[in-house]
């Protein structure tokens, strides 16, 4: 199934542990103020100096802005997103999509709708699904991973098998099949994606918790008489948040692609809702005569995923500054 990125993020995320060593070189003490800078602040400071990540963040914000002001596109162009135009300029004499023009800046689709306006509205779907499904995924994954890793024993065994099952099922097929049975809707799309994605988050969190559980500061808390609940939430949880945040940032583009893919396979949102995958799907029959019909929604989708991925990479580097081990000293 993985000609679509599998639900889960590819290379190297598992190692996105925050570095525990001293910041900087041997014996370096970096901060001089009375108030220490928290690991979060430090990560943000590193991120701020990452030009690529910052540009990506700006792009993401712009896309978000487009989503918010989508109705403005409709009112400025005068074309509601689902309005089908027939006149010359909106459809060619043969009834084919029309070229980009002063009336339709990015051309029209096969039904004579304004592609620009539809792209603007489509961004709402992509971002909404991307963020909500990722949030749901991470929430389930963290709870399951934390429980399995910290409690261990039978809880761990049962949850581990559950994770195995979810990871072994051909996600896209089952998702498409489910959507075809229940009927397409935004909620079902989000639920299906969330349901099949939490397993890899759980796996990562579990791994982290297992190693954190053996750390001396957890032992220290236990020797002070701290309760399990306190250890889990005060000592363990803050330490798994960094890798989880990195993972979540990198999961958003994956989810966006999955949603687009479902739409592309004809099981996204019921028409005439504008969403990018659906638009590209409709364009397939026309790609030889109307390149803009594929190109602009495709570009919007690609720019979005690229921006999120670049930003996610930056976030990962910020949390895990891998100063290539040049100094061979301990």
């Amino acid at each position: 199934m993985s000609d679509v990125p599998p639900v889960g993020v590819g290379a190297g995320v598992d190692s996105a542990t925050p570095s525990q060593g001293p910041a900087g070189g041997p014996g370096a003490e970096t901060s001089t103020g009375i108030e220490g800078r928290s690991p979060w602040v430090l990560a943000w400071q590193r991120l701020r100096h990452d030009r690529v990540a910052m540009i990506s963040l700006v792009v993401i914000c712009l896309i978000g802005l487009v989503a918010i002001i989508a109705p403005l596109f409709a009112s400025v162009t005068g074309h509601p997103p689902n309005q089908q135009y027939r006149g010359p300029g909106a459809l060619s004499p043969e009834g084919l999509p029309a070229h980009p023009s002063s009336a339709f800046w990015l051309g029209t689709d096969d039904l004579g709708r304004d592609i620009l306006v539809r792209i603007a509205y489509g961004s709402r779907i992509s971002l909404l699904v991307g963020v909500v499904a990722t949030g749901m995924t991470v929430a389930i994954g963290v709870v399951v991973g934390l429980a399995a890793g910290y409690l261990g024993g039978i809880v761990d065994t049962v949850l581990a098998r559950l994770v195995d099952v979810v990871l072994s099922v051909p996600f896209l097929l089952v998702a498409v099949a489910l959507v075809s049975i229940t009927g397409a809707s935004l909620t079902i799309t989000i639920l299906v994606i969330g349901f099949f994605s939490w397993a890899s988050v759980a796996r990562i969190v579990r791994g982290q918790v297992l190693s954190l559980r053996e750390r001396e500061f957890v032992e220290a808390a236990r020797s002070l008489g701290a309760s399990d609940r306190r250890i889990m939430f005060v000592d363990v949880l803050p330490n798994v948040l960094a890798p989880v945040i990195v993972y979540a940032t990198l999961l958003i583009p994956v989810v966006i692609v999955v949603q687009a893919t479902l739409s592309f396979l004809g099981l996204g949102l019921p028409p005439p809702t504008a969403d990018w995958g659906g638009m590209i799907s409709e364009s397939v029959q026309y790609y030889t005569v109307a390149w803009w019909f594929v190109f602009f929604p495709g570009a919007a989708l690609l720019i979005t995923t690229l921006a999120f991925n670049l930003f996610g990479d930056g976030v990962r580097d910020a949390f895990d500054p891998r100063t290539d081990r040049l100094i061979g000293q301990k």
Partner: protein
């Protein structure tokens, strides 16, 4: 003519937090067949400097000279360097488990070493030699153990394997970088014994990097004491322990629990080592030094001969004659609080 003469070595690394000046103007020399101990605390630059000599520090900015058998290693061609490594200079490292490749058999790794420098040696001969070497470093049943993987050996045995490999081509110099730090004392004694025996048999010179003054006292002929990337004092073993000049050397020795026992208070060096990114001006030890005076904070003392003893040098502004030095009293108030830089 010394075997290796390192002169004014500087090594620094670019890091996101700034330029780390790991080694700053280090000068020392190693005589044939002798052991030079480089001693210092973590971050003093002792490992970086020796790894730089064989160009094993990558991405570092390096300047200075390291003349080995008449040729400067720092400007040598990669090919020349390759021929020196292993064949002329053998190296062993702190953690023998991570220093051996986990996926290859021990025999394979030694044979590879031998054949890398002399391809005319047949595999069979090289293997025989490898078994011999394992026997030499005291590994029982050497011929059988050639076919074991590193993780099948215990810590001490692994370090012996490393030594066997480093000594395979009879190098004139062995660089041992904290070779026993990861080992238990009883095993450390074994490994140090093996090194001593091999040196006697083959006349190998050794650079021994350590933070353990006990190991220095047992193993070395000469000693360099490093602090914050530079040599503080350099002398024969006895002079370092009995006639040291530099307050840092004195501080190190005084912080050790007295060997004869006795509870009492220890005399630590106050504070902690400086950041190698923002080094203080003047002597790097001045902020922690009980003898420090104005000049120490302004000017960096040169590494000059003291007590009219050839080879005994100290980078300190205290009087360079024995009587003058003896007359200096450290300030007594102890600074028990560590301040962040």
């Amino acid at each position: 003519m010394a075997l290796l003469e390192v002169d004014d070595l500087h090594v620094s690394f670019d890091t996101p937090d700034g330029l780390v000046q790991a080694v700053r103007g280090l000068t020392f020399s190693v005589e044939r067949g002798k052991t030079l101990a480089i001693v210092g605390e973590s971050g003093s630059g002792k490992s970086v400097s020796t790894q730089t000599i064989t160009k094993l520090t990558r991405g570092a900015r390096v300047s200075g000279r390291a003349i080995f058998e008449g040729e400067d290693l720092l400007t040598a061609s990669p090919d020349h360097l390759r021929r020196v490594r292993g064949a002329k200079i053998g190296m062993i490292f702190q953690d023998p488990l991570s220093s051996l490749h986990p996926y290859y058999r021990v025999g394979w790794q030694i044979v590879e070493m031998i054949r890398a420098h002399d391809h005319s040696t047949s595999r069979r001969t090289a293997r025989k030699r490898a078994a011999e070497l394992l026997g030499l470093v005291g590994i029982p049943r050497p011929a059988e153990r050639l076919d074991d993987y590193p993780h099948q050996f215990s810590g001490g045995m692994r370090q012996r394997v490393m030594i066997a490999m480093a000594m395979a081509l009879n190098p004139v110099l062995l660089i041992a970088d904290e070779p026993t730090t990861a080992l238990d004392v009883t095993v450390q004694a074994q490994v140090l014994g093996v090194m001593r025996d091999l040196q006697e048999d083959f006349g190998t010179a050794i650079i021994l990097i350590t933070h353990d003054l006990g190991v220095v006292a047992e193993m070395s002929d000469d000693v360099v004491v490093m602090y914050a990337g530079t040599a503080m004092e350099q002398a024969s073993r006895r002079d370092i322990f009995y006639r040291h000049h530099h307050p840092y050397t004195e501080g190190l020795l005084r912080s050790l629990p007295a060997h004869g026992g006795g509870k009492g208070r220890l005399i630590p060096i106050a504070g902690s080592p400086p950041s190698l990114i923002n080094l203080p001006s003047g002597c790097p030890f001045a902020p922690r030094c009980p003898y420090a005076w104005d000049k120490c904070f302004r000017e960096t003392p040169p590494l000059d001969e003291v007590f009219d003893e050839p080879g005994h040098r100290s980078a300190c502004w205290l009087p360079h004659d024995w009587e003058g030095r003896q007359a200096c009293e450290p300030r007594t108030e102890t600074i028990d609080r560590e301040e962040t830089a």
